[in-house]
């Protein structure tokens, strides 16, 4: 019992106490008047009264009992009434189940992804270490922030005042041999401090520690729970066993618990980084840093400390003999730490809030439709309600009954909605976008259920309030007098429903504009030339030839070359090639600045360029066209000719045109030979369709190593691209693996996919938003049209008599129909006006989700109103047609 109702109960109880006390007092007085002593009189008066406590009890029972009893009676009535009109009940419940279910599902996703804390102890202490480098031009073209180098990690780990622990990590792959078939697994390479930072105990065995990263020691490895189950059948004796990782023996130190991830990365194997503080240099910004703050440390304090440590870093390391240690001052590196959760959730935040808002609006539209249905029902019960009101049923009593009905509907709809949400989430996890972070954590938890409950109650109250406001005020006497059909009452009732239609049209317009903007975004992305062609027939796989397997670099390149030949010989293959990273795969081979011949850079930073390493024939295979010049040849590769290929944007930037670039020379470091430009290829959207194409240098995959003359360096981890119309079929994949194993049976093949899958994944966020908004927009349109249809057909039925009179007076049928259609169009117009205003404001919030289209895109803002107006005209024309069959004589007689 709430404190509120107890208070009221006691008030009534006290009131009656006053009454009883007064009664006893008067009786006492009377008895004294009759000659009794005060004591005797009081006793007698109380005796007359009997048991006062019992009396109190019985008086109180009247309230308690009746309240509960009448509620139950009312509830029984509600159920019986709903049972009598199953069509109405089913319509309302379906509407609510879908509306509430969709909201619950989206809320669950939002809750699991954005609201729920990360699954690590004290997650609020976790940060990721981002650095901004505004003084490094060109860097932002292919990445928004600078990552950490190992030397930075050592500096932070040794000198920080604000971190409890800090570590760096990076995703990678490794080949496992000696267990079954050679297998490529996903690894997380971690420095010491990563596990301490995340602080999740091992499921069995021990954590890797900083000692494991000693390049001279035998670094151990840890297994993920999933890999342990999959490959070792959950064998508890696995700790201490030795496995071959990249052909090197490694001892298994332990297994991490189920569901454990490094930030948002799902790995099979944890591998320690082999880091030697003595050999590290300043550069090598490839690692993701995470840290755990000391209790009470704020992000600004941590940033200040990190800024201090960057100076320590530059003072403590160098990029080799003769280089300027403080060169990086020019990059203006500033720390930009952020809560780890922001890193995990990333760009999906905007999408989820937009989708939540959208689905919320659909719910509002659904509520207005249900309110409309309830109004029609209340209209039908008007006589009954009026009679009851006249017989003394209070306003509150009638309001309670109407609200009880709507809240009951809301709760029943909510219960069905939970089932819809459950099914929806199952569907989402089956077909959802791969990039949705924390996907595995999504579930219907207590918060989701609480959300559903509140939403059901609120929507019940919301759509219940409208008939209550109309019918609970005791103005029913008028109606009792038989004024049922007076024009004034009809019109007033119509006004409420007109408002609902205006609101529905406005909301539907907003959602449809949003959906159309996403469709236009999708189409704009589809129209972008990604820099490769026909991705569906481009098979991609990753192959690594570790130094432990083939020591000599030139031999490794020969092996890669013969694998290409074998792949090209598979029936149906037209060509094959490799690159250090295919576009949009997330792989990022390297980046640095280049120096061009005849240009000096004093005090000025040359911009950063993306580096890729390609085989002859790669561009032809990928469908990246040459703008000028030619491809590499294998002869040039093996002779280590200093030649390169540039992206079109880079060639234009440096020499004005692709043609002018041919024959010009550049290099990465001053002590390197000049590289001659032999070709210029079209720009490639390396980081996704909606990201600008970075200026890219394509190098041969083998070269003289910089750090020692005569030493040769080769790219050992490569993405192979194979052009064939059999791409993606299992038989082709098998033949592809056989081709690789025919060259060396210890080579694992990894990350097999088609370019189409990579391309679609890069558009997953857009297509996910598009699908969600399209579903919401369609629901909104359908509900809006139903609303208009309902209002007009109700108006027609209410005004039959008026139609009859007008017809009798000679009105033409077309004129009468136009009268109704016109009123629908007026409502639609008003709704669209409001909706356009709201859309203009709201679409700006979607700006980050749009590509190649303005938030105020004129096409969307004209097409949607036109379609809505046409839909409204149709929705009103159909019921308006019924006026044509009204017989004036019948209509008048019916009155």
């Amino acid at each position: 019992m709430s404190r509120f109702s107890r208070f009221f109960r006691n008030r009534r109880f006290d009131d009656i106490s006053v009454s009883i006390q007064e009664h006893i007092d008067e009786r006492t007085d009377e008895l004294i008047g009759e000659g009794m002593s005060r004591d005797e009189a009081e006793r007698a008066a109380r005796r007359d009264f009997g048991n006062v406590t019992l009396l109190h009890e019985r008086s109180r029972e009247v309230w308690q009992w009746q309240r509960l009893e009448s509620l139950l009676v009312d509830l029984k009535h509600v159920c019986r009434r709903l049972g009598r009109s199953p069509g109405f009940a089913i319509t309302v419940l379906l509407t609510l189940a879908i509306g509430i279910g969709a909201n619950t599902a989206v809320f669950s996703v939002l809750n699991s992804v954005l609201l729920r804390p990360l699954p690590y102890p004290e997650p609020q202490q976790l940060v990721s270490l981002h650095l901004n480098a505004p003084g490094a031009p060109g860097l932002s073209e292919f990445r928004s922030e600078l990552r950490l180098s190992p030397s930075m990690y050592f500096t932070f780990a040794t000198h920080s005042h604000v971190f409890q622990s800090v570590g760096v990590w990076g995703p990678g792959t490794a080949s496992i041999t000696g267990i079954a078939q050679p297998e490529q697994v996903n690894t997380a390479q971690i420095s010491g401090g990563v596990l301490e930072t995340l602080n999740v105990p091992a499921f069995t065995g021990q954590w890797l520690t900083a000692a494991d990263q000693d390049p001279h020691g035998l670094g151990r490895v840890m297994l993920s729970y999933g890999y342990w189950q999959r490959r070792f059948g959950g064998d508890p004796g696995v700790v201490g066993r030795t496995i071959q990782v990249n052909s090197q023996p490694r001892v298994i130190a332990g297994v991490m618990p189920r569901g454990f991830k490094i930030v948002n990365y799902d790995f099979d194997l944890l591998v320690p980084m082999a880091l030697d503080p003595v050999k590290e240099i300043l550069a090598g910004f490839g690692y993701r840093g995470i840290a755990r703050l000391r209790p009470g440390v704020t992000i600004p304090q941590a940033n200040a400390d990190a800024a201090r440590l960057l100076n320590v870093w530059m003072d403590s390391w160098s990029n080799g003999p003769g280089s300027d240690s403080h060169w990086y001052l020019r990059w203006k590196i500033t720390p930009a730490l952020e809560p780890l959760k922001e890193t995990v959730v990333g760009s999906i935040t905007a999408v989820l809030w937009v989708v939540m808002g959208t689905i919320g609006v659909v719910m509002l539209i659904a509520c207005t439709n249900v309110a409309n249905l309830l109004l029609v029902r209340a209209d039908a019960r008007q006589q009954e309600l009026a009679v009851r009101s006249a017989l003394g049923a209070g306003r509150w009593r009638i309001a309670r009954e109407l609200l009880l009905e709507s809240v009951t509907l809301g709760l029943l709809g909510g219960a069905a909605g939970v089932a819809v949400a459950y099914a929806g989430l199952r569907l989402l996890s089956a077909i959802g976008p791969v990039e949705l972070p924390r996907m595995s954590e999504i579930s219907l938890d207590g918060w989701s259920i609480a959300f559903t409950l509140v939403l059901s109650m609120l929507s019940g109250l919301l759509f219940g309030m409208i008939p209550v406001l109309r019918y609970a005020p005791s103005q029913q006497r008028v109606t009792l007098l038989g004024a049922m059909r007076t024009a004034s009452v009809g019109r007033e009732r119509q006004r409420g429903r007109n408002l609902l239609v205006v609101a529905q049209v406005a909301m539907a317009l907003v959602l449809l504009v949003g959906a159309v903007l996403m469709i236009r975004t999708f189409l704009a992305m589809r129209n972008v030339d990604p820099g490769f062609s026909d991705p569906a027939s481009l098979q991609v796989m990753r192959l690594d030839i570790p130094e432990t397997l083939v020591r000599d670099s030139v031999t490794a390149v020969h092996m890669q070359n013969s694998i290409l030949d074998k792949l090209a010989a598979i029936p149906g293959v037209s060509s094959a090639g490799f690159a250090a990273a295919v576009p949009m795969s997330g792989g990022e081979p390297a980046w640095n600045e280049i120096l061009i011949e005849g240009k000096t850079y004093e005090g000025d930073n040359p911009p950063m360029r993306l580096f890729n390493y390609v085989s002859p024939g790669y561009f032809h295979t990928a469908g990246t066209s040459f703008i000028a010049g030619r491809d590499f040849t294998w002869a040039e590769i093996y002779n280590m000719q200093p030649i390169g290929i540039l992206s079109e944007g880079l060639a234009r930037e440096l020499w004005g045109s692709p043609q002018a670039a041919i024959g010009k020379r550049f290099h990465e470091f001053p002590n390197q030979p000049w590289y001659k430009v032999v070709g210029v290829v079209q720009d490639v959207r390396e980081n996704g369709i909606d990201q600008v194409s970075p200026a890219t240098v394509y190098w041969p995959s083998i070269s003289h190593d910089l750090f020692g003359p005569g030493v040769v360096g080769a790219r050992r981890t490569l993405d192979f691209a194979i052009r064939t119309n059999r791409a993606g079929t299992q038989t082709f994949i098998n033949e592809m693996q056989q081709a690789v194993w025919s060259v060396n049976s210890n080579l694992p093949v990894a990350d097999i996919s088609t370019m189409q899958e990579i391309y679609s994944d890069s558009m997953a966020r857009t297509s996910f938003t598009l699908v969600m908004l399209a579903i919401a927009g369609t629901m909104a349109l359908a509900l809006g049209i139903l609303g208009i249809y309902g209002v007009i057909s109700y108006a027609v039925s209410q005004r039959t008599r008026e139609i009859g009179i007008r017809m009798a007076l000679g009105a033409k049928k077309a004129e009468l129909m136009w009268m109704f259609v016109r009123s629908a169009l007026v409502l639609t117009g008003v709704g669209m006006g409001a909706g356009l205003g709201a859309a203009a404001v709201l679409m700006r919030l979607m700006r980050t989700l749009l590509f190649g289209v303005s938030p105020l895109d004129p096409v969307s803002f004209t097409a949607v109103p036109i379609v809505l107006a046409m839909a409204a005209a149709l929705a009103s024309y159909l019921p308006a047609r019924r006026t044509a069959v009204v017989d004036p004589v019948e209509a008048l007689r019916a009155e």
Binding site: V18, S19, E22, H23, E26, R58, V62, G392
Partner: protein, 114 residues
């Protein structure tokens, strides 16, 4: 609780009717109601306090009565009960049905005598 064997239980609804009828004259507090009914019925009817207050509460709940705090004839605080429009209508319909029933009783009893 009847302290006097002559005072039999009233038939259902009778107490309500008497309260409504009494309050129709003027608003009263509980004690005054008891006195009033006693006087008007010339001591034939006596309302049991044990039944009166629960009945008053019930009728308040049903909206037949309203109550407000006031002072008794002696100047003590008490609750004054007043008839509502619904109370009047209820009373009227009760009286109609009571009279019909009473007429029925009378005829049955008369037939038995004859």
């Amino acid at each position: 609780m009847a302290k006097n064997p002559e005072h039999r239980d009233l038939f259902p609804g009778a107490l309500e009717m008497m309260i409504l009828q009494s309050l129709r004259l003027k608003p009263m507090h509980g004690y005054a109601l008891v006195k009033h009914i006693k006087q008007v019925s010339e001591d034939l009817l006596q309302v049991e306090e044990g039944s009166l207050y629960p009945a008053l509460q019930r009728m308040l709940k049903e909206g037949l009565l309203e109550a407000q705090t006031g002072t008794s004839a002696k100047g003590r605080p008490t609750r004054i009960y007043r008839l509502t429009a619904a109370g009047i209508r209820h009373l009227e319909s009760e009286v109609v049905s009571f009279e019909r029933m009473f007429a029925g009783f009378t005829r049955v009893l008369a037939a038995a005598k004859a």
